[in-house]
Structure formats: structure tokens, C-alpha cells
């Protein structure tokens, strides 16, 4: 299974500023130390050797993650997504480039919740406008469909929901119940977030991916902790809301509905998970800050591992692909 991250930022899309980009270019030139590159490919190969945050960016699109069970060709395909943040616009464009407008595709979309940063990409998801496509949007909230319709209604957007050409279905799931959807065994879990959010555990051919974003952990109950340990148990990959530091999450940002890198490491270690992906980055964090959090999280994992197998820790970025 391949997991592809189209949007990894929390709350609000962000972009590099001109000054930030200039700093990266200046830093790369200093690193190059006068070296000459005959081709763009040579220069790009050199850039790939630089620290990630110096030569690249974690990106600024909001939550959208693709699970790929089989690599798509030009023929019709069943796509699987989590959330429809602004990252889904790039995903839709990739699909159109691959298939053109005449090939009907099916999109299975699992919604954590309908806060704006998780649905804002939908009006710009071109496949939704094309007749022949089918969108199956799954979620546990009663107001799932209303949120999508309201977003497209005047004065928020010029194209109303009724004008979307694709067949669009909203399918309500019950947390805790197992479903077989698009080759996946899917289980949802209720999470602490304003208006509730839901995490998803996806299982296929012995591989397990957990998508758990917009989820606060109050840390006041061993039972609550154990319930997430069971949800994450043995996962090959856990995509985890690590928006704040622990100190912020339990003080000034308590009840804001998000979690920390430290809690992610702890839960994954307790669950025997193999790979933790820090996700839903705080929009005010610059690339260097996210890279620092990634480094510190790896250090925390090493400090607290004891005799357990190593937990790989990565900070998600727009464009990241992970094979499990």
C-alpha cells in the first residue's frame, strides 16, 4: 500500500513568502560553495543532498491523504482519500492528467469531520464536476452532507452543489463497526474535538494504516489512553495530529482539539506501531520549526524506546509518499 500526502497543514493553508524562499536560495548557494552545475538535473541532485528544510518545504495545503492499494493506470480506478482539505485540488488535477475527462472514476472519501480546513478543497476538486465520476463520501457526522452543500451555497461559492456533475453519495458510518469498503477493512473511532472528529483504522492484506487527526488527548484517564492504544495497535503507519507542543496542548491551547508530538510517540510506542507521521502542522510554524520538531520527536522515541523495536518518526509534507 502506498500512502501519499496531498495536504498536511492544520487549520489554514499557508505558503512560503518571498523572503523565506530567498533565504532558502541563499542558503543553498552558500552550501554549493561556488560549485558549477551544467544541467538543472545536476543542480536538483545537489539540492536533494541538502537538509530538507533548507532546500524544500513541508508545504501548506490542508488535510488530504491518499491510500493507494493498486497503482492506477489510464483505465477507470477506485481512489481512496482521507479528508478534502485544500490538498485535494492537486490530487484532482493529477487524476485528470492521468485519465482525461472521459474516464469514469470512483472516489471513496473518508471524512474526519467537516471543519472548514477539511472540506475547503472540495469546490476545487474538478472530478466532482465531471459526469460519470462517482464520489462516495463516508463519515460519522449527521451533518456531513449539509456541510458540503452549505459551502457551495451563495454567497460562499458561485457554483451550487446541484451543478456538480458527478454522482455524489453520502454514507454514514457507525464508530466501532467494521466495514469492507474498496478493498479495505475500515473502523472509525470517535475523537475529542469541537463537534467531534473521527479517526479511521484501515486494514488490507495484513497492513494497517491509522488516520487520526484533529484529536485531543486529555491525558486524565488511563482508559482513554488504552482505547487509543487498541485503535493504533500494531499499525504499520499512524498519521497523527501533532499540531502543538505538549506544554501548549495542556495549557494555553487546552480544549482546542489537537495533540502533540510527545503524545504521538507515546501512543505509538504503547501500541507497537512501526511508523509515526506527524501531521496537521501548526500554520505559524516555518519549515525549520517543523524540522526541529521532527528531530526532537525522533530523539524522544530513542530516549524512551527501552527494549521495543524502533518506531520510525517522520514529519509529513505535501508530496510525501510512504510504502508499507
Amino acid at each position: 500500500m502506498r500512502i501519499r500526502f496531498w495536504g498536511t497543514r492544520g487549520s489554514l493553508p499557508v505558503a512560503l513568502t518571498a523572503a523565506e524562499l530567498r533565504q532558502k536560495v541563499a542558503g543553498a548557494l552558500v552550501h554549493a560553495g561556488g560549485r558549477r552545475f551544467e544541467t538543472a538535473a545536476e543542480a536538483e541532485a545537489f539540492a536533494a543532498t541538502l537538509p530538507f528544510a533548507e532546500a524544500q518545504t513541508f508545504g501548506g495545503s490542508t488535510s488530504c491523504v491518499e491510500l493507494e492499494l493498486n497503482a492506477p493506470g489510464k483505465e477507470s480506478h477506485e481512489y481512496i482519500l482521507c479528508d478534502l482539505g485544500s490538498g485535494v485540488r492537486s490530487f484532482g488535477n493529477r487524476v485528470l492528467a492521468r485519465h482525461g475527462r472521459k474516464t469514469p472514476n470512483v472516489f471513496h472519501i473518508f471524512m474526519s469531520h467537516v471543519h472548514w480546513d477539511h472540506i475547503m478543497g472540495f469546490p476545487f476538486f474538478t472530478p466532482a464536476y465531471i459526469p460519470g465520476n462517482t464520489l462516495r463520501i463516508y463519515g460519522c457526522h449527521d451533518g456531513l452532507e449539509d456541510a458540503f452543500r452549505r459551502q457551495q451555497a451563495p454567497p460562499s461559492f458561485p457554483v451550487e452543489f446541484e451543478y456538480l456533475g458527478a454522482q455524489i453519495e453520502f454514507i454514514k458510518l457507525e464508530p466501532g463497526r467494521k466495514y469492507d469498503i474498496a478493498g479495505l477493512r475500515v473502523t472509525a473511532k470517535k475523537q475529542l474535538h469541537a463537534g467531534d472528529s473521527y479517526g479511521y483504522r484501515f486494514e488490507s492484506h495484513g497492513k494497517v494504516v491509522v488516520y487520526s487527526t484533529d484529536s485531543e488527548h486529555k491525558l486524565d484517564s488511563a482508559e482513554e489512553t488504552e482505547s487509543f492504544v487498541r485503535f493504533f495497535f500494531g499499525a504499520d503507519l499512524v498519521i497523527f495530529d501533532a499540531m502543538y507542543s505538549l506544554a501548549d496542548a495542556v495549557s494555553v491551547k487546552e480544549d482546542w482539539g489537537h495533540s502533540s508530538n510527545m503524545v504521538g510517540v507515546e501512543l505509538c510506542q504503547l501500541a507497537g506501531a512501526r511508523h509515526l507521521v506527524l501531521f496537521h502542522h501548526e500554520p505559524v510554524f516555518k519549515d525549520a520549526k517543523i524540522a526541529e520538531i521532527e528531530t526532537e520527536s525522533r530523539r524522544l522515541e530513542a530516549l524512551t524506546r527501552q527494549d521495543a523495536p524502533e518506531l520510525t518518526v517522520s514529519a509529513a509534507y505535501d508530496g510525501l509518499e510512504i510504502d508499507i
Binding site: D220, T225, A247, L300, L303
Partner: protein, 121 residues
């Protein structure tokens, strides 16, 4: 996890031993609660001597945060001292080193909290 308490004039030094994790954080919270209440009422200042603490999880750090929320707005002072290398790194990674003063030694912590020495680590 054990918690020992000693008093140095108006400073209570609390010394947890072993590990504080999600399984015993509640017990840790109950053990420190009477001292936090004294600090809230203005009778004492609290210094956590972390020299015998092998590990503290997020749930344990939350107890320290609750202590600070209860005591500091009422004028109380809370600090931590002599963390083991592992716990010191956990304090830094969690950013709890920005919440409390972290003293290198218990003596420095006692002196500073009692007002006998300038704040510093």
C-alpha cells in the same frame, strides 16, 4: 512511583522516584495534591526534585501543569530541580522547560524559590 516530601523553611521539596506514566499519573496527582493546595493557600512553595525520576510521560507532565495552574495564579511558586538527563530532555522536547524554572540542583532551587538568591539554573 514513590513520593517523598521534605521541608526547607517555606519550601516543600517533593521527590518522585521511579517512573510516572499513564498508569500511575493519577496516583501521582493525588499524592502531590495536598502540597499543591498548601501552595495555593500561600503557605509554601513547591520544588520537585527530579533526581530520582527515571521517566515522566505526558500524563505525568500534565499533573505538573495542573499544579502550576492551581498554585501560580494565587502567588505560589513551583520549580523543578536536578532532572536526570532523560527527564531533562523530555522537559525540553515537551517545552515544559518554558513552563517552570529548571534548576541544576535542589540547593539552587530552594535558594531561588525562598528568595535568597537570584533566579537562575
Amino acid at each position: 512511583m514513590e513520593l517523598n516530601a521534605t521541608r526547607h523553611n517555606d519550601i516543600v521539596v517533593l521527590t518522585p522516584q521511579g517512573r510516572v506514566d499513564h498508569l500511575n499519573a493519577d496516583a501521582f496527582g493525588k499524592a502531590v495534591a495536598p502540597y499543591v493546595e498548601q501552595c495555593h493557600l500561600g503557605g509554601v512553595q513547591l520544588l520537585f526534585d527530579l533526581s530520582h525520576l527515571e521517566y515522566i510521560s505526558s500524563a505525568g507532565l500534565r499533573i505538573l501543569m495542573l499544579a502550576s495552574k492551581r498554585a501560580i495564579p494565587a502567588g505560589g511558586k513551583i520549580g523543578v530541580a536536578a532532572p536526570t538527563p532523560t527527564v531533562r530532555e523530555i522537559l525540553e522536547i515537551s517545552r515544559f522547560d518554558l513552563v517552570f524554572p529548571v534548576f541544576d540542583t535542589v540547593l539552587k532551587g530552594v535558594a531561588t524559590l525562598s528568595g535568597a538568591a537570584p533566579k537562575g539554573s
